[in-house]
């Protein structure tokens, strides 16, 4: 049991640290500033081109085949350099990799990993949120193609996306989980309409909704077989719950570092209650880092995902919301902060217990899949 760096890991850390000194774009966070997106693609390319992205993915798809714990080093160094977190694409790659055939892998995964092609995920709908299998978007076969009609919502990064990993119902007569298939849909075509949604903190480029009207997709762009959509969706969402996959530990560590700097400048401005919120943010974000180390180490046993992802998601949520409360403490002593960053960070943190499966859904899964409690 060793939390320390091996010689190879230490060398990697040093190389990364040296690179970050000259290559940190110092972008604002995507959760608090729309400007992040103007530089995000360049950041992804830079990380990838320098060999610091997709560390644990196979070489064939553009990765480096390193042990998963290298992502912990990446997250720590990005945070401590004040650099943006690594782009979160692993959950898409996992889903496509698990369900798709070789042709799909070769055509799409390298572009996701290199960041040359931008992706969004078309799962949720206005009437299919927690109950995702209730989705109504239809894909109807027409020769070598399918024709897609439907409405997707809570689509992160839809305004950036070149491609959408879309779930649609291909068999309306099958039981609701079984009639769903997954497609790769070109976002740049007639019939696709993207509209941003303004979040409670005012940012507009994180979140969107997309309508598909008579949109055509080749049958060969189906991921897996007809009816495999649910399997793919469950793979994607289980990885989407894992902070090790998302790199969010870096986001929280960076925010906590900044908050600690502000408090250290003049601690007398803070009340005991505010200091307590800051202290819990320190504790929670450190907990999450250690937890991610534990979970990524477990992958060395060949475990990739399972119900423990729900535990991770709940711990990640507790961390983000504790950091949010610390940010709120800073807001009150720093009300003139020009960008209102801390209030935006706090407000954004409320979404973490909803997105990627609500905290209540995660608790259901922990209770039934891990604790073995009966279902009603």
């Amino acid at each position: 049991m060793d939390f320390g760096d091996s010689p190879e890991e230490a060398a990697f850390r040093q190389r990364l640290r040296d690179w970050l000194r000259d290559n940190n774009p110092k972008l604002p966070s995507s959760s608090t500033s729309d400007e992040y997106w103007d530089g995000q693609a360049a950041w992804h390319h830079a990380l990838y081109d320098a060999g610091f992205f997709a560390l644990s993915w196979p070489v064939e798809v553009g990765g480096h085949a390193l042990p998963p714990v290298y992502d912990v080093i990446l997250d720590e160094e990005l945070a401590d350099a004040g650099a943006p977190p690594r782009p979160s694409v692993g959950y898409l790659v996992h889903g496509i990799h698990y369900v798709g055939n070789k042709d799909i892998h070769e055509r799409f995964i390298p572009g996701i990993i290199s960041g040359r092609e931008r992706w969004c995920q078309g799962f949720s709908e206005p009437n299919a949120g927690s109950d995702l299998a209730a989705l109504r978007t239809r894909a109807v076969r027409d020769g070598d193609e399918y024709i897609i009609d439907g409405h997707k919502i809570w689509t992160s990064y839809s305004d950036q996306a070149d491609w959408c990993l879309l779930l649609a119902r291909t068999d309306p007569d099958a039981p609701k989980h079984k009639g769903i298939s997954a497609f790769v849909v070109d976002m740049h075509q007639p019939g696709v309409t993207q509209r941003p949604l303004k979040m409670i903190n005012g940012i507009t480029r994180e979140f969107g909704e997309v309508t598909f009207e008579g949109v055509r997709v080749k049958a060969t762009d189906m991921v897996g077989n007809p009816g495999d959509g649910w399997k793919l969706a469950m793979t994607v969402v289980s990885h989407e719950r894992e902070p090790g996959e998302l790199g969010y530990a870096a986001r929280y560590r960076k925010a906590v570092n900044e908050i600690v700097r502000i408090v250290r400048d003049d601690p007398e401005r803070f009340s005991p209650d505010q200091l307590r919120d800051v202290a819990w943010a320190i504790v929670e974000s450190q907990m999450l880092s250690h937890h991610v180390s534990r979970r990524l180490s477990a992958r060395l046993d060949g475990i990739t995902h399972g119900p423990d992802g729900s535990v991770d998601k709940l711990l990640m949520t507790a961390t983000e919301q504790a950091v949010g409360h610390a940010a709120l403490a800073v807001t009150t002593v720093d009300p003139d902060h020009e960008e209102d960053t801390w209030m935006k960070m706090y407000l954004y943190s409320r979404a973490q217990s909803v997105m990627g499966g609500t905290a209540q859904i995660q608790r259901n899964l922990v209770a039934t899949r891990i604790l073995g409690l009966p279902t009603a």
Binding site: P267, H290, A367
Partner: protein, 341 residues
């Protein structure tokens, strides 16, 4: 980095678990069974776990903080009424002072009356912890910049809040020097405190695991409105939160256990204090949840949940609870003197 337990560490966990399964109390009535408790004590003595931190031939501990934490967690899981942390910490002090192992094997440590740190012989009173079968307790005597290790006899034990680990009031009028013990530095005590705080965290993780397992099994069999109560989301979510708190606690505790021997003393103690803040908050929540899930029966003396809660509260108090640990976290990152009060 590879934070999986090694094969040897897993084997140690399994042996500790086997002792707990065979001999730890399963009912409150079992706590009165002196024959069982004596067998448990003999089983633990036979394993040498209390000597994990004794000196090897190079004056290094026989095992790391991780092994000590593995045993502490398993004993906590079974609310084992046997001494472990106290004697192990006494041996760790002896090793640091260059003194030989305790000849009697019946030695623990004495803390201040608030239980937050090692006792000083100049103070009017002290509390020896984990005092079952112990006849003496180690404590400190300050002499300039140095700290000497001294020993005080224990006249007899008393059970306070924790029904599984009695305390004792050392006779501070009869303090004697520890043979062949050299002076200890402040740094020695920092490193020793890191181990001490970490072991209380490991005990808390174990107590939570044992308690939440008990409540989960109960929720699978207790029926109301014609269904098992564990099928209701209101009950499921309570237990899910407790389970999540255990996993977060295990992650911070494991880092602290590794840090005991791998990081400089100040950093090791910082990791331990952070872990203690997290684990002690989690443990009170989890153990209170376990009483709630048990309903009326959970509020009776004969049911086990209060044994877990009481042990958790005692381990929380040992070497600083939630508030003191949180202040230490803040002091480490922000600087001293900005209290939370």
């Amino acid at each position: 980095m590879d934070v999986r337990l090694t094969r040897e560490q897993k084997a140690l966990r399994d042996s500790a678990s086997a002792v707990v399964e065979a001999l730890a109390p399963r009912t409150v009535a079992d706590l009165q069974d002196a024959e069982r408790a004596a067998k448990l004590d003999a089983a633990v003595a036979a394993t040498g776990w209390r000597e994990l931190r004794s000196a090897d031939d190079d004056d290094q501990p026989l095992a790391s903080g991780v092994e000590a934490a593995i045993v502490a967690e398993e004993l906590g899981r079974g609310v084992a009424d046997v001494s472990f942390i106290g004697p192990l910490l006494a041996e760790d002090l002896r090793r640091r002072a260059g003194a030989p192992s305790s000849s009697s094997g019946a030695e623990t440590v004495a803390l201040t009356p608030t239980l937050d740190t090692v006792a000083d012989a100049a103070e009017p009173s002290a509390t020896a912890i984990d005092a079952a079968q112990a006849t003496a307790a180690l404590l400190a005597r300050t002499r300039g910049d140095d700290i000497d290790l001294v020993s005080a006899p224990l006249p007899g034990t008393q059970t306070r809040n924790d029904l599984t680990r009695p305390v004792a009031r050392p006779d501070l009028g009869a303090v004697t020097a520890v043979s062949d013990a050299g002076p200890l530095s402040a740094d020695d005590f920092t490193a020793w405190s890191a181990l001490a705080v970490t072991l209380t965290c490991a005990d808390l993780v174990g107590v939570m695991r044992g308690a939440v397992t008990l409540a989960t099994e109960y929720a699978k069999v207790r029926e109301q409105y014609g269904h098992q109560i564990g099928s209701y989301q209101a009950v499921q979510h309570l237990l899910a939160d407790a389970h999540v708190a255990i996993e977060g606690s295990a992650s911070v505790m494991l880092h602290a256990a590794w840090a005991v021997d791998a990081l400089p003393a100040e950093e090791a103690l910082a990791s331990a204090r952070l872990a203690k803040a997290y684990c002690s908050r989690a443990a009170r929540m989890a153990c209170e949840t376990v009483i709630q899930v048990h309903g009326g029966i959970g509020n009776t003396w004969e049911a086990m949940p209060h044994v877990f809660l009481r042990r958790a509260l005692h381990s929380t108090d040992l070497f600083g609870g939630t508030g003191a640990s949180l202040e230490a976290v803040l002091a480490h990152r922000i600087g001293d003197g900005h209290g939370l009060r």
